[in-house]
């Protein structure tokens, strides 16, 4: 029986295709599923249309699947210890795609209860103000990919967990002003939303520039990991491409969705 770990982290063992359990990942996934079920049970959703309910379920299941697939074996250990490119796929899943899907999976009634806790709502209002959210996401993205930070945090389970937590929280903050109806941001025009996302797609983050332009591997943990058949420098450049192209594609899809909704609402208004 392989040793049970809480979270994947950078190790110096040679890579093996032997399955290993990551208990923390399962617990987090189970807790999210339980919390979502409890939340829905406490809301009056009896008159919710069937297509809306189905879409919510698909969205939530997709978010959970992305989280589980990117954090559990084999992608979890591969990304934590051996390949920067897999680490970047994890970032896109944990820090970009799954927070958006989770927010989309929440019914309107779930947001409507927020004003019951003014302190919580106050914090949410402050951090999800579009400009603040933009900076929080991009600073978190830059810091969590900074070579010194990655090399310092990834060799421990707690550090690796912290990076994933930062990604996920920053992702929620980023998507909140675009998806969540509370607080009401009527002034955030669809054109502003499109600009908000487009800017993220085209922004050159310092870690991306370092990864793509550096002549040498910048991450110690991936450079000095037991090799899994890929040159660390090429792997790093692939990671940069995944970061940029992956983020751009997700933003592109989101821009199209916002644009279509805007067009439909304009048509309905007319």
């Amino acid at each position: 029986m392989p040793a049970i770990q809480w979270w994947c982290f950078a190790q110096q063992e040679a890579w093996s295709w032997t399955w290993r359990p990551l208990l923390g990942v399962w617990i987090v996934i189970a807790l999210l599923a339980w919390a979502y079920r409890r939340l829905l049970a406490g809301l009056a959703l009896g008159n919710e249309p069937e297509p809306v309910r189905r879409w919510r379920n698909v969205s939530f299941a997709s978010a959970l699947f992305l989280l589980w697939a990117s954090l559990d074996w084999p992608l979890g250990p591969l990304g934590a210890s051996y390949l920067a490119s897999v680490h970047m796929i994890q970032f896109l899943a944990v820090g970009v795609a799954s927070p958006a899907l989770l927010l989309l999976a929440l019914p309107r009634a779930a947001f409507d209860v927020l004003p019951r806790w003014p302190a919580v709502l106050g914090v949410i209002e402050a951090v999800t103000q579009p400009l603040a959210a933009f900076f929080i996401f991009n600073i978190a993205m830059t810091v969590s990919h900074w070579p010194g930070v990655v090399d310092m945090l990834m060799p421990t389970q707690a550090g690796s967990f912290l990076i994933d937590l930062i990604w996920f929280t920053a992702g929620l903050v980023f998507w909140w002003p675009l998806i969540a109806p509370v607080p009401n941001r009527a002034g955030f025009h669809p054109l502003g939303k499109i600009a908000y996302m487009a800017l993220n797609a085209f922004l050159i983050h310092p870690p991306f520039a370092m990864m793509i332009f550096s002549e040498h591997p910048i991450y110690l943990i991936y450079e000095l990991a037991p090799p899994v058949g890929k040159d660390p420098l090429h792997d790093q450049q692939l990671a940069a491409a995944i970061m940029k192209i992956g983020l751009a594609w997700i933003m592109f899809v989101a821009v199209i969705v916002v644009f279509q909704r805007w067009r439909r609402s304009d048509a309905a208004g007319a």
Binding site: E13, E223, P226, P232
Partner: protein
């Protein structure tokens, strides 16, 4: 010691070297005999230069290879390891190989990289050649009796080979020195590169070491 701890030690190296140099200057010992070049390098300086060992082994083509005679006048980087090694050997060779390929052909022609197998039974000439070719086709692979390898390691004040039980696939693991020794053209090693040395370190040091 983990590879991260090793690297931390490498990072502490310059501070340590500076402290040692300060003590030497205070004691009136002056600058090192190599004119201070060691201070610029990122490897670990050896306080006592080590002469190149006398090894006459067989290369991957089955030819006799006299280490001293056939590397005379070259910067010679010598590493003892084995191709089934799961971590240290492939990482050291990949890091060195990548930096080596970045050098100009002229600099490369002044350097010989010699990999001495510590597992001559499993490291057949074909396997050794194929393994080295993945890093660089010019790297020399040598095979010889374990006793002679241990003698050479001992002469270089390095620990000998140790058979360790159980790898991931029940293959024996072999304990061996993790450092690459850099022998100058005069046949003396004044610096070594332990596990944790990075491609950027090699890229920085190789031109300095190989320059006439």
């Amino acid at each position: 010691m983990s590879r991260f701890e090793t690297h931390r030690r490498e990072l502490l190296g310059p501070i340590h070297r500076f402290a040692c140099l300060a003590v030497l200057v205070v004691l009136g010992c002056g600058v090192p005999a190599d004119g201070g070049r060691l201070g610029e390098l990122r490897g670990t300086p050896m306080h006592v230069p080590i002469p190149k060992p006398h090894l006459v082994f067989t290369d991957t083509e089955g030819r006799r290879f006299d280490l001293r005679a056939q590397t005379e006048g070259y910067l010679t980087l010598v590493f003892f390891g084995y191709t089934h090694c799961p971590d240290v050997c492939p990482i050291q060779m990949a890091t060195l190989g990548a930096a080596f390929r970045e050098l100009s052909p002229e600099l490369r022609s002044r350097i010989k990289v010699v990999f001495v197998s510590t597992d001559p039974e499993r490291d057949t000439p074909e396997r050794l050649r194929k393994w080295l070719d993945a890093y660089d086709g010019t790297f020399v692979g040598l095979r010889g009796p374990i006793e002679e390898i241990n003698e050479a390691l001992s002469s270089m004040m390095l620990p000998g080979i140790a058979m360790l039980p159980g790898g991931s696939h029940d293959e024996p693991l072999i304990g061996h020195p993790a450092a690459v020794l850099a022998f100058d053209a005069d046949g003396l090693a004044r610096i070594r590169y332990g596990f944790g040395v990075r491609r950027s370190d090699w890229s920085h040091d190789l031109p300095l070491l190989a320059s006439p």
